[in-house]
């Protein structure tokens, strides 16, 4: 009965759809959304790209097109180039440590502890605090006074934010502290998705805890790992708030990132055009890195 009905219905259905699409192209339904998107995303984006080829100061009407001059300046800009190095170092440190800590936290709060709900909240709490607030908080923790903050606690005499060879890692530390809970939540979601049957089967086969993690849990965490690596990479490459509030790029240029450079060019030096060029390069760079990352990581994902 069913096949017959379906067989009869199909031509009618197709005809109806064809007639309808002739009357109103389907994309028309998306038009209002597209219009809003164009106005508040595409238009400013394109307008912003145009500034990258000008010498606009950010105020006034004087503006002329300078072609690729801004991009050439960037290549010869010692400070901007140095900031790329800092940005990459920070990103690598944050990606590795944040996800490592996040995974350990997730495994920790995944086991059936009485306090696990509380622990999950505690570990996640820093994520919801404003990054600027976190930076101010950590400025106290990183107090160079040997009797205060982290130094007092650990009996150290480290100038966390004032020593150019340490400052970058101190910032990475506070970023990891803030965001590890976020990675934890995503890993936790992945862990919850691992079917219990697989673990039971593995146990029957005599697999120990490590073997079950390595051969059952870990491959199935691949989608969570993909999203975590991508998010922390993007976050690291764009890092601004914590650096700006904690060190303002200093001491010297030790913690300058691409984002603080582009901010300073626009709002401190009054070079809006050049700043937009830096922003454009940063955006393309982030896009390229994420695409490569996703392409590679997706290819190694498996499903349960």
């Amino acid at each position: 009965m069913t096949p017959v009905t379906a067989g009869r219905a199909r031509p009618a259905h197709v005809r109806r759809r064809r007639r309808f699409s002739a009357a109103a192209p389907s994309w028309l339904f998306a038009a209002p959304a597209l219009a809003v998107y164009a106005l508040i995303v595409l238009y400013p984006a394109v307008a912003g790209v145009i500034y990258a080829f000008t010498d606009w100061s950010g105020i006034g009407r004087d503006m002329s097109f300078v072609g690729l001059a801004n991009f050439r300046t960037l290549l010869g800009d010692e400070q901007a180039m140095g900031s790329i190095g800092n940005t990459l170092l920070l990103t690598v440190a944050i990606v590795v440590v944040q996800n490592g800590v996040g995974l350990l936290l997730a495994l920790g709060v995944h086991v059936k502890l009485k306090s696990r709900a509380l622990l999950r909240v505690v570990f996640f709490a820093p994520v919801v605090v404003s990054p600027v607030m976190v930076a101010f908080l950590w400025k106290y923790i990183y107090n160079p006074d040997p009797t205060a903050g982290l130094n007092g606690l650990l009996g150290l005499e480290v100038d966390w934010l004032g020593d150019p060879s340490i400052a970058l890692w101190s910032i990475a530390g506070m970023v990891v502290w803030q965001n590890a809970g976020y990675s934890m939540v995503i890993f936790l979601a992945g862990l919850e998705g691992v079917p219990r049957e697989l673990h039971e089967a593995a146990m029957i086969d005599g697999a120990g805890t490590w073997q079950r993690f390595r051969y059952v849990t870990w491959p199935l965490l691949a989608p969570a790992l993909t999203i975590n690596l991508m998010l922390s990479t993007i976050g690291g490459l764009k890092l601004f708030d914590q650096v700006f509030a904690a060190t303002n790029g200093g001491p010297g240029y030790a913690t300058e990132t691409l984002s603080t450079v582009l901010y300073k060019q626009a709002f401190v030096f009054g070079k809006f055009g050049y700043s937009t060029a830096v922003a454009l390069v940063l955006a393309l760079f982030v896009a390229a890195v994420s695409l490569i990352q996703v392409y590679y990581l997706r290819s190694r994902e498996v499903t349960a």
Partner: protein, 435 residues
């Protein structure tokens, strides 16, 4: 990582949104910034003009007082003021100026050399010409570059502040120091005495960028301008440089203070707030600071009168000691605003002698012009003998662009960290100057 939570949702629009980030920010700020001021009718029946003022935190005390006085004198105009820290005001104001949506009155920094300085904004045609106002006729000749561009006045400022050593009188007494030093060698001897007495001689909060510049600024008048008062002109003409001038000597003196252990440990990890409290509480004896922040030191001290200032002597001959005296941060009127006339009238009001006096008093400044009603803060009395012919404006006020100053901040931090040499530092500053 401003919006990690959002990343989960966006991946498609991420790329475009980032490209549009700056432009979108402009759009968003424009949308939520002040609308052009409208005239509202009050219950009394008269029309009230509302003038919007955006200033920096330093201006709050004097402005609050003078805005209230103006409201009494001119009931038809109401000035609403809002204040923000320096960095933020630069960002938000420049965005509003860029969008052609400036407030009627806003903070303007004297001279040239910062993104919100008089020259930069006047050149963009955004500041109203104040030259017709009576008070502008009395601006001292030495201060004209801070107020004027091409002979027209675009800035109002109530007076000048000086840079010198803020010191804790009690700590000096306890170390057996009777009088402030008047030469560099006396200064070093005083520091030595203080160090032996077990206090930090000089508190330095070099983690706060603008604090890094103050010791160089305090020394350079003696090492550069006392020898050649026309240094700025020569430098602008390309005939002089940081590297081949007394700037080198000033940097050497700066580092000598560090080498002798006269600063607190880890100045690069110490902030302005910590520096202030160290002097206020007597943990440190002094801090080289600008007189405009004296109120901050007094607020932190148990007895405000226990603090005073003296000029930092940058030469071994007391007659060769010069001081930096800079015009304090002021304000200007938007040239394009609908209420430009009312805004200018308010500035004219600020220019009256009694109001100049009131403003200067609130921030421990030396009034631009003085009369019988002018009060000068006792802490800066010792600077007055210098202000006539041995004072120079703050160095950055005549620098040609906004990049030299941040480079100066950065190289001082590098020098303090032992990460750079004076040669490299001055070379970087010269490069930034020529940009």
């Amino acid at each position: 990582m401003t919006d990690l939570l959002h990343h989960a949702r966006v991946s498609r629009g991420q790329f475009l949104r980032m490209m549009g980030g700056l432009a979108a920010a402009t759009l968003a700020t424009t949308a939520c910034s002040t609308r052009p001021e409208t005239t509202a009718t009050t219950g009394g029946g008269g029309a009230t003009t509302e003038l919007k003022f955006i200033g920096v935190a330093d201006q709050k005390t004097p402005m609050d007082e003078l805005v209230a006085a103006y409201a009494k004198a001119t009931p038809t105009v109401r000035v609403t003021a809002s204040y923000a820290p320096t960095d933020q005001v630069q960002t938000s104001l420049r965005t509003q100026l860029g969008a052609g949506n400036a407030p009627d009155l806003h903070v303007v920094y004297p001279g040239n050399g910062s993104a919100m300085s008089m020259t930069q904004i006047a050149q963009a045609g955004l500041l109203a010409d104040l030259s017709a106002q009576a008070w502008t006729q009395t601006i001292p000749a030495g201060f004209k570059p801070a107020f004027q561009l091409d002979g027209k006045t675009y800035l109002y400022s109530a007076g000048s502040s000086v840079i010198g050593a803020v010191y804790n009188k009690k700590v000096f007494q306890q170390a057996g120091i009777d009088a402030p030093p008047t030469t560099w060698s006396e200064f070093l001897a005083v520091c030595d005495k203080l160090k032996k007495a077990g206090v930090t001689p000089i508190a330095l909060g070099a983690q706060t960028p603008w604090v890094t510049q103050l010791i160089t600024y305090a020394l350079v008048p003696s090492t550069v301008y006392a020898k050649d008062p026309t240094f700025d002109d020569k430098q602008l003409a390309g005939q002089a440089s940081f590297a081949d001038s007394g700037w080198r000597q000033a940097m050497e003196m700066y580092l000598e203070l560090q080498k002798r252990g006269f600063f607190n440990d880890k100045p690069n990890g110490t902030t302005f707030e910590q520096q202030t409290s160290m002097v206020a509480t007597g943990k440190a004896a002094m801090a080289v600071q600008v007189s405009a922040v004296l109120p901050d030191f007094r607020k932190a001290a148990s007895s405000p009168d226990g603090l005073s200032m003296f000029p930092l002597p940058g030469a071994d001959d007391a007659n060769q000691v010069w001081i930096p005296a800079g015009v304090v941060v002021g304000l200007g009127a938007s040239a394009k605003g609908r209420n430009a006339e009312q805004a200018k009238a308010f500035i004219d009001f600020l220019g009256r002698q009694e109001n100049i006096n009131a403003w200067a008093k609130a921030i421990a400044a030396i009034p631009l012009t003085q009369d019988a009603g002018s009060t000068i803060d006792p802490a800066v009395q010792s600077f007055l003998p210098f202000t006539k012919d041995r004072a120079v404006p703050f160095m950055d006020q005549r620098w040609p662009n906004a990049e030299v100053q941040p480079v100066h901040f950065a190289v001082v931090q590098e020098l303090l960290a032992g990460d750079s040499t004076i040669d490299e530092a001055l070379k970087k500053m010269d490069e930034a100057y020529r940009k």
